[in-house]
Symmetry: C2
């Protein structure tokens, strides 16, 4: 008998019909002989509605109370889900984050899980019950207050439960079939991946892929949890996210990968695109030691998350250089204002704030051992006369910053260049992928 | 410094504006130098909406899960109220039933409070914070599950908190000014009472008055909690509900009641009317020992709450008698069906189910020492040619069952006959009194 953790997001439990569909899937999993633990998000737009209520009464809600408020959303969905399963004739029990032993730091709104003590969940499983746990929430042992985990928190709840209960797999459901080689809404010939390495998944998620949250994948990698990203709407297998040394669950003992897919692992796993960034260029910075550090010490004070950085070899003015960096669009105005306020101290000539950029990233663990991977990217873009504005790389990733208007075309071109295209167009759902 | 418990119902926190008004009142109470503990219900129709969601997914929701679901309503309102107070510059902390130490029996949906261990509330008060507690909910120590208290639960929460914290007063807010000598929507000249005895209040509540819930008044009487029923919309004093031996809080030391109201306490405190009952008459029951017991043993099996019972001296058929009783309208069809199914065993001739009846009750502790109280009632009704169908009495109450169409007119007549009329018409709000 396997122990399976399943996570359902807000759109999967948006109304009574969706809840019944999810309940049916849970019941089927249980009837197939598995123990089942479910992490569930708040219904549909509940969290946004609660946030709006909060803003109506308090412009700047007290964080402790905001967490108390938001945590009620999962209480509603989990109780409804448990009673639906009950009415289908199986025993189900719902547990809040604190009842489930989800112990976190005291950082309201962005708490991190520090321990999971699932005593009551084990009791319920021993009683043969299906366990439903509120996603996104926990509690702090010192303050005894309720906390929430921030964006993507329910994915993290599911993975943390899987780790604590030593589950066989953590199934993360959404309205897409799994992880694709690129967003199928942009690249119609994108293929669903059967497996992907956790490291690759992290790079894709960090660079714009939306199916899984980084924190959940990180937690899974650290605790060797096998994630299975799959669709609420089909019973097809989705994509397994494999940590280091983890066996492909599709393989029987003694088989190796070629028995399943008939060929070696591809060098490139996928292409991610990201429209969320802006570029700031500080023009005509004195080309002396300490200039960059002076600029970025100012930027870091704003709390902005810098991604790519490029320093030009030479500026238009002699003895000066230009420094460009990218950061989330919503943080750019603040940073630009901060730098402009200190223009004379920093000694630069001009500042350009550009939010018409897009980032394309090619990710693949095979890059470590294969050369010429970046050449394929540059040649493909060059063939289509797409200009590269910035480049950054990691061991298993190459990212380029492009005009935002070039991004979709670039994604299709690059996808083809790396032989990632499938034979048929992928089915695209109306949903957002969450 | 006094410790004041305040209870606000769902209509008092129905939207952002109402929550701000309630917050202002709480803040004013705190700024006047009092410690404040607040019990709050779910916003407006939240509980009904959650019940509807439950019915959409499960025809017969599991009680444990239903309580988990419903308890989220107060989480929302209490967190919003706490953050509103915060944004007004005062410290406020919200607590769920279990955080507040509201320990109950395990009867989901109608749990009874068995103990209150308000450790965290005292800590918060010691820190100078205003304490906001979720009404209507608690938890069971053995099952560690969340429970709800059933109808009027938030009133009971407030009174239980007042008892456990030894509060000076428990203020129960609604949209009416206090307890009236009769429902002002029926009797325009009804007067607000400055005080009422707890016993009288219990009789009025049990016989149709809607301002306070019986369980809360009982709890207050048992634990010597002073209840002050008052309006959210004015700062006028409402009605104090005085338990045995409790001093009128409007009196300074050494004063007696005549200093305040200039006359003795009235014999009759008020008139209650009740449209919620039906009458069943079992016609032609064999007039032999055991007939009544046979009938009521059948009735009790249905779980119905019998109120008045009358056995006629003689039926139309010789050797037979008629037995009439009243019970809540919604329970009557079931009981009638049950009796009819056993007509041959019970040996009665016919059964009449009548839900066009209304009950009028006159309540007053003074009845114990005054004679002629019932005569006034009978004469008043007779003068207006209103027919009495059944009569029942307690030590401090006389109730009569009338045609429902006669009920309003009877209430006005009787109100006048006991000299309860005020000089001006009472202000009637659109609300329901809760």
């Amino acid at each position: 008998m396997a122990l399976i953790v399943q996570k359902f997001g807000g759109s999967s439990v948006a109304d009574a019909e969706s809840i019944k569909r999810v309940a049916k899937r849970i019941v089927d999993t249980r009837r197939a002989g598995n123990d089942v633990v479910v992490a569930v998000s708040a219904m549909g737009d509940t969290t946004d509605e609660l946030l709006e209520l909060a803003r109506d009464v308090a412009p700047n809600p007290a964080p402790r109370e905001l967490d108390m408020l938001l945590s009620s959303g999962e209480r509603i969905s989990m109780a409804l889900l448990a009673m639906t399963i009950h009415s289908m004739g199986l025993e189900a029990r719902s547990f809040t984050g604190s009842q489930a032993g989800m112990i976190t730091t005291a950082d309201h709104g962005s708490a991190r899980i520090v321990d999971v003590t699932p005593v009551r969940l084990r009791e319920a499983l021993d009683d043969g019950a299906i366990v439903i746990v509120a996603g996104f929430q926990g509690f702090n042992r010192d303050t005894r207050d309720i906390t929430t985990l921030g964006r993507g928190g329910s994915d993290t709840t599911a993975v943390a439960l899987a780790a604590a209960l030593n589950a066989d797999v953590c199934e993360i459901y959404s309205d897409v079939d799994g992880i694709f080689t690129c967003d199928p809404r942009v690249v119609p010939l994108a293929k669903k991946l059967d497996t992907i390495g956790a490291e690759e998944m992290l790079e894709l998620a960090a660079n714009g892929a939306k199916v899984l949250y980084i924190r959940a994948v990180e937690y899974a990698r650290r605790h060797s949890v096998l994630i299975h990203a799959r669709s609420t709407f089909t019973s097809n297998e989705g994509t397994y996210v494999l940590g280091e040394g983890m066996a492909d669950p599709r393989l029987a003992e003694g088989e190796d990968m070629t028995d399943v897919i008939g060929k070696e692992e591809p060098v490139v796993a996928g292409v991610a695109i990201d429209r969320s960034q802006a570029k700031i260029t500080v023009v005509g910075v004195p080309d002396v030691p300490g200039s960059a550090s002076a600029i970025f010490s100012r930027v870091s004070k704003t709390g902005a998350n810098i991604d790519m950085i490029v320093q030009n070899v030479q500026s238009a003015s002699p003895g000066r250089t230009d420094i460009s960096f990218t950061l989330p669009k919503e943080q750019a105005p603040d940073v630009a204002k901060q730098l402009q306020a200190e223009q004379s101290e920093l000694g630069f000539e001009n500042l350009v704030h550009d939010d018409q950029v897009g980032k394309l990233s090619v990710v693949g663990a095979g890059m470590r051992s294969h050369s010429g991977v970046s050449l394929t990217l540059f040649e493909a873009l060059s063939r289509d006369a797409i200009n590269i504005e910035m480049i950054s790389t990691s061991e298993i990733r190459i990212s380029v910053l492009l005009r935002e208007t070039d991004l979709d075309k670039a994604a299709r071109t690059v996808h083809t260049a790396y032989h990632l295209d499938g034979d048929v167009e992928a089915t695209v759902y109306a949903g957002t992928g969450r």
